[in-house]
């Protein structure tokens, strides 16, 4: 058996390119000193952070001084939700979409002390803007936390229209761009933004936050830099920035190439009986698709595919530590068992995708027959 591996689970953790690994090594060689001190070594480290911040700001469409580094994409969501919420003294409610990340919902619940108000989505995962408008009319709303693109469905929200609704009511819009930056153009409509470098092939252990000049926030913790208590890791900042620049160099052609590959997966999986291919087929991330298979155990599906050399993700309850299926799949009414999420990275070829679909089709058929499932259709 060939030991070859095909990694199709690059959402939130993509393989690092040689250039990114080189940047990491250079960061440790040149940027080991504490950038907050006054020595020449410290200045050298600080210049690496400053240069990275400038490049990151440029990529995100933010001012350099409004870009902050933190310790992960999730930490970024937590910090920015807490900081913006705290500055809205007296207003307590957080509004989220029904397809937000667990981290966003948990952060909102933690700071506000109660569950956030969830705005329903349609079958493709687009937020119901009438429902949102009604929710935002409540003067108790502190902030709205809504994603740019969904990490499972791939569906891209119409942030311009959403921001129009929040801005008209003076409610800050915190945008979770942890699945979109590095894959599609950065969103323009937000008051605060969280991004995750590991998702675009940067190292794990770093997150990015951007604020608009008028966005108010208050620290929730006593240390001076509330975004990165104890300071940022200079090598991680540098490598995250280099990884993003590398992705952006070929962003358009790569997005087209990956979107075509996902179209192939969508079409071929849809042709298999009893498969629910979810998310917006048009307004979506180029590299992500999720599908669910009737009568198939998600955990068995993932381990069979892994044995055949394919790494994929899943939102099925039996593949997570909780007993609850993915909130995203439940929100769009998608089948939650036998779920597979694919997130491509630049190293994936058309041949990889074809081989994956062949293997998945065979494994699904085997598992159904082993489970004694009746014929479909």
């Amino acid at each position: 058996m060939s030991p070859s591996r095909t990694f199709l689970d690059a959402g939130g953790s993509a393989p690092l390119t040689q250039r990114t690994r080189d940047a990491l090594v250079a960061g440790f060689a040149e940027g080991w000193a504490d950038p907050d001190r006054v020595s020449s070594e410290a200045r050298r480290a600080r210049s690496l952070v400053d240069g990275s911040r400038e490049a990151m700001a440029d990529a995100l469409g933010a001012r350099t001084e409004d870009v902050h580094f933190t310790s992960s994409g999730v930490a970024g969501l937590e910090r920015v939700i807490a900081g913006v919420w705290t500055a809205r003294r007296g207003r307590e409610e957080v509004v989220v979409s029904a397809v937000e990340r667990d981290a966003t919902v948990h952060a909102a619940q933690f700071v506000a002390g109660r569950a956030p108000r969830e705005i329903r989505v349609d079958a493709l995962g687009h937020i119901d803007r009438d429902d949102l408008a009604v929710a935002l009319d409540d003067p108790a709303v502190a902030l709205a936390a809504i994603q740019h693109a969904n990490h499972e469905l791939g569906t891209v929200q119409d942030l311009a229209a959403i921001h129009e609704l929040t801005a008209a009511r003076g409610v800050p819009l915190v945008v979770d761009a942890t699945s979109s930056i590095g894959h599609i153009a950065s969103p323009e409509s937000w008051d605060a933004l969280a991004a995750n470098p590991a998702d675009w092939g940067g190292p794990s252990g770093i997150g990015v936050i951007a604020l608009r000049p008028g966005t108010r926030w208050l620290p929730a913790w006593p240390e001076g830099d509330d975004w990165a208590p104890g300071g940022v890791s200079v090598p991680l900042v540098l490598a995250a920035t280099v990884a993003l620049q590398e992705r952006l160099e070929n962003a358009d052609s790569e997005a087209t190439r990956l979107a075509d590959l996902i179209d192939v997966v969508r079409a071929r999986m849809r042709a298999v009986p009893g498969i629910d291919v979810v998310g917006d087929p048009e307004r979506r991330l180029p590299h992500v698709v999720t599908f669910s298979c009737l009568y198939v155990d998600g955990e068995a599906l993932l381990s069979r595919l892994d044995r055949e050399g394919f790494a994929v993700g899943s939102g099925s309850a039996c593949t997570t530590s909780s007993l609850e299926p993915s909130r995203v799949l439940a929100a769009v009414g998608a089948l939650t068992h036998g779920n597979v999420r694919i997130a491509l990275h630049p190293g994936i070829t058309s041949d990889d995708v074809d081989r994956f679909v062949d293997a998945a089709t065979r494994v699904i058929e085997d598992l159904r027959s082993e489970a004694g499932a009746p014929a479909i259709g």
Partner: protein, 79 residues
């Protein structure tokens, strides 16, 4: 003469996904158009998956009721 419509039951309490749906599908395979099938289950995923099964197989999801002991009764009608 109009044939009698059957009201069938599946006890899937204690089973986790995808077993309740497979049990539902087995019963549906032997049932007729117009019959209803009620799946009793404790797995929360089934609350999403039974309506999704109905949509994907061209049948109708009728509704959900909570039963004793935190279980759910999910009903579908076959087309």
């Amino acid at each position: 003469m109009r044939p009698q419509l059957a009201e069938l039951n599946v006890d899937a309490r204690g089973q986790v996904c995808p077993l309740p749906i497979i049990a539902l599908a087995r019963v549906a395979a032997g049932a007729s158009s117009g019959d209803t099938i009620t799946v009793e289950c404790t797995d929360v995923a089934a609350r999403v998956d039974v309506p999704a099964w109905a949509r994907m197989t061209g049948n109708d999801f009728v509704g959900e009721t909570e039963t004793d002991g935190g279980a759910f009764a999910l009903t579908v009608r076959l087309r």
